[in-house]
């Protein structure tokens, strides 16, 4: 009798323990979910309280930022992904710098003389110095541009020399001319001459990119493959100097560079980057006061959308469905149009993505192409392929008689991250629901593999992304030229090619006619349903109320250098 009671008691106890343990474990993965609405609405008060100035302490004048992964390199020539470009951009500056308004301003150059035909730019450099005390000279630019073009280096962003039409860029990159023939010359230490093959309207914006930054030849060569692996082996001339770093570091510390050309505009004493890969943990670290700015995932974006520090920022990137027109069925215009019109983009961004992304009924995204008088190409140009499920059904009804089948099925390639998978499942459901007889099968894979399959034209449909490389409509439209490396869907249209090429050729200096040609070219993509635009990506951020002056470029990159930490 007694032992029975004991057994019952111990069972009860075990149960209680189990409940206690799981209870303390399960709500924690999403603190925000379990927290009552009040706590969500005012998360900063609790987090900021222990370090508020009322305690008599001053807040360190350091900005704490998060990175979603480690920087792949600190070498400006090799920096290719967003994270590496972000970190190297804090350490270095080039001829131009781009601020929140998207206008390129002279940085290392005092002034520039442009020839009448806009083919020769002569830069007069400021007296800037490297972090080892060496002066920044015209030779540093010549060295880095030649390295960028050198076919032996096979650098990805050598493509920027081609798009900016630097004299002989194509020939040097393809190995037909020695790199000394590239159109860049140091007249003397402080005078740099750049020659172009043709004038490019957006060239100054492009020259603000990291790949065109100068590199100190003597230091770079002396460090060899150890360059950029520690503060001692890294040289910078930008807003900040490296204080602590090791390859693939999860924590990077920088201090203000007193010799920076715009040092008087830098308010913070330093900057830290903390790698936080887990998005839940990033928000917790933000609430805890470890980081000042955090980017939110879809679910989190919804939870925090009413918080005062919630800041959605539109990026320039377009997500779209790419049909491979070499695949039987997808060569049919009616079927392509049916697919393009069959999914509700508004519902996708509102119910699935929830991060401020906007439906895209266009190819050239908002904020990408700003004309000289400040107008956005997007506002000047009419949209196309807006969702219309009835029209989609009509197109789909025409397709079977042209194709000779009443059912089709396609495989949709997507990369294996959560947001993309969710979006693709939504698209799959919408297409199958609105076009009975169409079956979509989703195939997930790492991004690298998706890109590789697409480049080999080995796919049917793919959900893919393109971000602008420079501020001009051609950064998107060039993708669709016949024979373009990135024209994975193999779509081809002679009229489009003619218009698109004229924009970079005979119309290059005729701004209104050029704009018209680009607008007409974009419409052809829509009329032909060459691709099916889905949404323009936004990032949702939380920014601590005491951090002011965080800006974003027109394409959505965070600018940290003008941040101010309020006491």
């Amino acid at each position: 009798m007694q032992s029975k009671a004991k057994k019952a008691l111990s069972l009860l106890l075990a149960l209680a323990l189990f409940v206690a343990l799981t209870a303390c474990a399960s709500p924690s993965p999403s603190p925000a979910t379990s927290a009552p609405a009040g706590e969500t609405a005012a998360p900063t008060e609790s987090a900021a309280a222990p370090e508020s100035p009322s305690a008599g302490e001053t807040r360190p004048n350091i900005l704490h930022l998060a990175l979603e992964g480690e920087a792949a390199t600190l070498d400006t020539l090799k920096a290719e992904d967003t994270i590496a470009l972000n970190v190297t951009g804090s350490l270095n500056v080039g001829l131009y710098i781009r601020d929140a308004d998207g206008v390129p301003r002279l940085a290392l150059a005092e002034s520039v003389d442009k020839s009448d035909d806009n083919l020769v730019f002569t830069y007069h450099l400021k007296d800037a110095v490297w972090s080892n005390g060496d002066p920044v000279t015209a030779h540093d630019f010549v060295f880095s541009w030649r390295e960028l073009a050198d076919p032996a280096n096979a650098l990805q962003y050598s493509i920027l020399l081609r798009t900016t039409a630097v004299l002989n860029a194509d020939e040097v990159i393809d190995g037909e001319l020695p790199k000394e023939e590239l159109g860049i010359t140091a007249i003397d230490d402080k005078t740099l001459e750049v020659r172009f093959e043709r004038p490019i309207p957006y060239v100054e914006t492009a020259l603000a990119m990291g790949s065109f930054f100068p590199v100190n030849e003597a230091f770079y060569k002396a460090q060899g493959d150890q360059y950029g692996t520690s503060p001692e082996t890294t040289l910078s001339n930008g807003a900040f100097l490296l204080k602590s770093y090791q390859p693939s570091a999860t924590f990077i510390e920088m201090v203000k560079n007193p010799d920076y050309v715009f040092a008087d505009r830098i308010s913070v004493d330093g900057l830290t980057y903390q790698v936080v890969k887990d998005s839940q943990q990033a928000v917790l670290a933000y609430e805890n006061g470890d980081i000042d700015v955090v980017v939110l995932g879809g679910e989190q974006a919804e939870l925090y959308s009413d918080a005062p520090e919630f800041t959605p920022v539109l990026t320039g990137a377009l997500w779209y469905l790419s049909p491979n027109v070499l695949v039987p069925g997808l060569d049919n215009l009616n079927l392509r149009k049916a697919l393009a019109l069959s999914f509700d983009k508004e519902a996708l961004v509102k119910t699935v993505l929830k991060d401020g992304s906007v439906p895209a009924d266009y190819i050239v995204t908002k904020l990408t192409h700003i004309t000289a008088d400040g107008a956005d190409f997007r506002d000047l140009t009419k949209p196309f392929l807006e969702v219309n499920k009835e029209l989609a059904k009509e197109y789909w009804q025409k397709a079977p008689e042209e194709l000779g089948v009443s059912e089709v099925s396609f495989t949709l390639l997507v990369e294996d991250n959560e947001a993309t998978i969710n979006a693709s499942q939504y698209l799959q459901a919408q297409i199958q629901e609105n076009l009975p007889g169409v079956t979509i099968t989703i195939e997930q894979m790492p991004k690298k593999n998706r890109v590789e399959r697409m480049a080999a034209h080995d796919y049917e449909l793919a959900l893919t992304r393109w971000g602008p490389d420079y501020s001009d409509a051609t950064t998107f439209l060039d993708l669709f030229l016949t024979g373009s490396t990135y024209n994975y869907g193999s779509w081809s249209n002679a009229e489009f090619d003619r218009l698109e090429k004229s924009a970079s050729d005979e119309l290059i200096n005729d701004i209104p006619a050029r704009l018209k040609a680009l607008q007409d070219a974009e419409q052809i993509i829509g009329e032909d349903a060459a691709v099916f635009p889905v949404y323009q990506k936004a990032n949702a951020y939380l920014i601590k109320p005491y951090v002011k002056g965080i800006e974003f470029t027109t394409t959505g990159t965070l600018i940290s250098r003008y941040a101010v930490i309020e006491q």
Partner: protein, 313 residues
């Protein structure tokens, strides 16, 4: 004993050779390329492949691979750290994973043994039930749930420990990660120790020892535990390797600059040299620890080395 150790060592070397061979074959068949970026031209890709020797005939590649692997030269990373020698970036990350893993093993084994012994000695009491429940919970809670719970409670709410790993506070900031990692070890060790110890405690020779007047600590430590530990060591060995080489989930959550995620990232990025280096290090560790375990068996239980020695001769 020496023959036994030599035989084990020879098997270990053969295993390592076999692993490296399989590794090469798998890497050859790994789909994709590290250089498939949209902005690279075909000529540039060819240049890059040539630079890293990926354009060589397969046999030449195999020879280079074997030669470099066994001389410890893993080359440079292609993608994760552009052009940085593997050694210079693993050398800062591997020790962090090994230290946290080591701490977790020590903590988990210590707590697990205590729980297991208490459970076995207080068999069928409330203590036994408690320990059993703890170990069931320990193996069933996924480590990420536990890790997020720890960082919410002890990092965010109580502020005892940093939420994210800090180089400046290597011990404090590794505490939560260590505890999160040790849970599974603790639970497994507790379960095995309890089961084995119960069996040993009911055996004839323990009764005999007790009848000789041996009891208390000496009985448990010298007579019971020593026998019960053999299966425990067997489960411990793979756990040690698993923890020392870093945990994907726990390192991600606490932003630990370790090697836990590198293998997966390396495979996704087709960063062959990172994958090779890590697989080689893991295999080496695993084989070394298995070798130690084999030898330990002999130390713990003379019957094993006698039996194996006899069958060998």
């Amino acid at each position: 004993m020496r023959a036994y150790i030599l035989k084990r060592a020879a098997i270990a070397v053969l295993t390592l050779l076999l692993i490296v061979l399989i590794l090469f074959v798998l890497m050859t068949f790994l789909p994709g390329s590290p250089f498939n970026d949209e902005r690279l031209s075909p000529e540039q890709i060819a240049t890059l492949r040539a630079r890293y020797g990926l354009d060589q005939p397969i046999l030449v590649q195999f020879w280079n691979f074997m030669k470099n692997t066994f001389s410890g030269d893993f080359g440079v990373s292609y993608a994760i750290q552009k052009n940085v020698p593997i050694s210079s970036f693993l050398s800062s990350r591997l020790p962090v994973s090994m230290r946290i893993g080591g701490q977790a093993i020590l903590l988990g084994t210590f707590l697990g043994l205590i729980l297991g012994i208490v459970a076995a000695l207080k068999h069928n009491t409330i203590w036994d039930t408690l320990c059993t429940v703890l170990s069931v919970v320990g193996v069933s809670i996924p480590s990420y749930v536990f890790a997020l719970g720890l960082s919410y409670l002890f990092g965010f709410k109580l502020k005892w420990f940093p939420i994210l790993y800090q180089d400046a506070l290597p011990f404090q900031s590794s505490v939560l990660a260590t505890v999160a990692l040790s849970l599974f070890t603790m639970a497994s060790i507790a379960r095995f120790t309890r089961t084995e110890l119960l069996e040993v405690l009911s055996s004839d020779y323990i009764l005999f020892a007790q009848s000789r007047g041996i009891d208390g600590f000496r009985l448990i430590a010298r007579h019971a535990l020593r026998n019960a530990l053999i299966p425990v060591v067997t489960v411990l060995a793979p756990l040690v390797v698993g923890l020392m080489t870093g945990s994907l989930v726990v390192e991600r959550i606490f932003s630990v600059p370790g090697v836990g995620q590198l293998l997966v990232e390396g495979i996704q990025a087709n960063d062959y040299s990172v994958v090779t280096a890590l697989s080689f290090v893991y295999s080496l560790l695993y084989i070394a620890i298995m070798l130690v375990v084999d030898i330990l068996y002999g130390v713990i239980d003379p019957r094993i080395r006698l039996a194996k020695g006899a069958s060998q001769s």
